[in-house]
């Protein structure tokens, strides 16, 4: 059911639209950042980095709108939960954007002499985190509780893959000390992706709150 006050309805819709916009930009950034890791394409890396400004702008726009609605309309019940959840989620989305920027920045500088197996492992890790992010955003917009909890659980897989990858890179570094800076870049990329998994988990916890009015563990 829509709000009797159409302006209120429009304001709430605008927040939702901006969240969708933020999510779709992030998904594009994610896909591009992983391509950068595989291809070392500097132009594509710059594209990812430039889009971060858009994410930051949307973060501020949504934040301003939520602030205004709270001041002017004293939201209640599902509106209140949605606004509360939005204000927390946009921070996580903005951080995901920052990490993708790091992935792109480090990604195109990695030497092409780094063995393909390492890059491929990073792509597998990135792919999992990217699908997790995509599913999380869908879950946010469709508000499906079971999915929210299930998606959050996938963070363990990301953590394990990241842990294994670090071990692999460390062994490689020991044997190839010419490539220590590149190996460090790989570690930073992997760490960035691992952090994204954490932020997606946070988002799923907020979606749980949005739907249920309480956190999963409370």
């Amino acid at each position: 059911m829509q709000h009797t006050d159409k302006n209120y309805e429009n304001q709430i819709n605008l927040i939702n639209e901006n969240l969708v916009k933020m999510g779709s930009i992030l998904e594009q950034q994610f896909s591009d950042a992983l391509k950068v890791v595989a291809s070392r394409d500097q132009n594509l890396a710059n594209k990812v980095i430039e889009k971060d400004d858009l994410i930051n702008q949307l973060n501020h726009d949504i934040s301003d709108l939520v602030f205004q609605i709270i001041a002017m309309r004293q939201p209640m019940a599902d509106d209140l939960r949605f606004l509360f959840c939005s204000i927390k989620i946009i921070r996580d989305l903005e951080r995901i954007g920052d990490h993708l920027t790091t992935v792109a920045k480090k990604g195109y500088r990695v030497s092409t002499n780094i063995p393909d197996q390492l890059i491929e492992k990073l792509e597998v890790l990135g792919g999992k985190a990217s699908v997790m992010t995509h599913d999380a955003l869908n879950c946010l917009f469709e508000r499906k509780l079971a999915q929210a909890d299930q998606i959050a659980e996938r963070d363990d897989i990301i953590d394990t893959l990241h842990g294994n990858f670090i071990k692999d890179v460390l062994s490689y570094m020991k044997e190839n000390d010419d490539f220590i800076p590149d190996s460090l870049a790989l570690i930073q990329i992997s760490k960035g992706i691992e952090r994204i998994g954490d932020y997606v988990t946070n988002i799923m916890e907020e979606v749980h709150f949005l739907i249920e009015g309480k956190y999963n563990n409370s």
């Binding site: 009797t4 019940a77 509106d79 209140l80």
Partner: protein, 252 residues
């Protein structure tokens, strides 16, 4: 948790029209319960059943059981005066008697024969005015007309008048709708203080007011009780979609 008032299967009819459909709702002692819902939902009708204000409406018929301290207020040969000593009421528009401030407060205790000693009555009046947060403002002009006070003061005078007879329950039917925000804040703060001594049931159209002052909230719609529960829950995560839609401004 002790109930001050229990109601069971209450039905109210105005002639052929049913205004309340089979409502059972209990009111916890020393808590504030807010009744909310759109106009015509039955919340005021229900409130007025609790001290038999509907008795004076000829076509009005009340069925079911309403008990205060396990005593059925529609049976058990309770006199209305006796009931209203226990259940006071404050209305939407402040309605002091066209009498002095003092006599407004002393009126109830006098007719209930609390005392015929002047100094004791002075004490009763002063205590009630103090509890209503009005004493300091009027102590030097107790003989002025009650109607000479400001709207907010008049409403507090009505609250003092209600509590002077030492009721157990105070019913409030939109007590702040005629008041400005400061007078409203004073009354709301007072409600929170008064619940230490009384059980308060308040009908309000202001969702924010219900959220601010009440411990429990009951949502009425078309004569039905849709949902009742802790106020924090009702305003953050109500169970019923209709409750959600009403309090978020989607209808009503």
């Amino acid at each position: 948790m002790v109930n001050a008032i229990t109601t069971e299967n209450v039905n109210v009819f105005y002639g052929d029209k049913q205004a309340i459909n089979n409502i059972s709702l209990n009111f916890l002692k020393n808590k504030v319960t807010a009744l909310i819902g759109p106009s015509g939902c039955g919340k005021s009708t229900f409130l007025r059943c609790l001290n038999r204000m509907n008795d004076v409406i000829e076509i009005c018929r009340v069925e079911g059981k309403i008990s205060i301290n396990d005593q059925d207020i529609y049976k058990d040969q309770i006199e209305v005066e006796q009931l209203r000593e226990k259940v006071g009421m404050v209305f939407q528009k402040p309605n002091p008697f066209p009498k002095s401030i003092y006599d407004n407060v002393a009126y109830g205790p006098r007719i209930h024969g609390f005392t015929d000693k002047k100094n004791e009555m002075d004490e009763i009046v002063a205590t009630a005015l103090k509890k209503a947060g009005l004493f300091e403002e009027v102590k030097d002009r107790l003989n002025d007309l009650g109607t000479s006070l400001s709207g907010g003061q008049q409403q507090r005078l009505c609250i003092a008048r209600a509590i002077a007879v030492k009721p157990e329950v105070i019913l409030m039917d939109e007590p702040c709708s005629a008041l400005d925000p400061i007078a409203t804040s004073i009354i709301e703060e007072l409600i929170t203080e008064l619940k230490e001594s009384y059980t308060i049931i308040i009908v309000t159209h202001s969702m924010q007011q219900a959220a601010r002052v009440s411990d429990k909230t009951a949502f009425f719609h078309l004569g039905n009780l849709i949902e009742e529960g802790d106020t924090t829950k009702i305003f953050t995560k109500p169970d019923n979609q209709k409750t959600n839609d009403y309090i978020t401004g989607r209808f009503g």
